[in-house]
Amino acid sequence: MGDLIYLIILIGIGYSVGTMVEKRHYKRIEQREAELLCLPAVSAKNLLEEKPVGEARLVYGNAVISTDYFKSLLAGLRNLVGGEVSAFESLLDRARREAVLRMKAQARGADIILNLRIETCQITMTGSVEALAYGTAVYYKK
């Protein structure tokens, strides 16, 4: 009985705080994405415009995001019947977008980021993932 109450409390905290944390994070992501819209990050390897390049360097950013208890339980249930696990989709989406934003923050003042690559890795077994975004920041000659 005690275990059950403990579990329900955990789920309750996970659901309420987890949802709040996720909403706040998405709000921050969207705000920063809007700010950095002037710096395009593309997966192309070559520059579209023939402009003299002043500097080019590697930039990268990473983020480790963990899921909440409620969602990992939901995903566990999903494993029984199969199908789309939307609980984890938002987790990966947040990690990738955060990583891209951090990469862009490293490339302040650049004109374009070429060859953007995003990589993910599971670092604990309990539902936390790392996303790494990297690319080549190009500064045109002014």
Binding site: P52, A56, R57, I65, S66, Y69, E119, M125, E130
Partner: protein, 104 residues
Amino acid sequence: MMFTNVETIPGKKIIEHFGLVCGSTVRAKNAFKDIGAGLKNIVGGELKSYTALMDESRRQAIERMEQQAQQLGANAIINVRFSTSAISQGAAELYVYGTAVRVE
């Protein structure tokens, strides 16, 4: 040392290739930090200590690659790729590789 992850260095001319250089590091996480991360698993959100750990380890891997390239006499590394693999519960390998070149 210059790094890019495209086949060239935009705006520079490559005059010599030295072949593959790489750097790697295997890191385990701190058990005490893991307690905090365990709590974070209930409410979700970013695990800042892990983000910092991965970042620091990746920098070390890059440093090792850079040393290798310097020994070869290169002044830039092109086509840099990162790779991460979890090799056991709580330990991860961070691997970085690229092609050492000399540019004008």
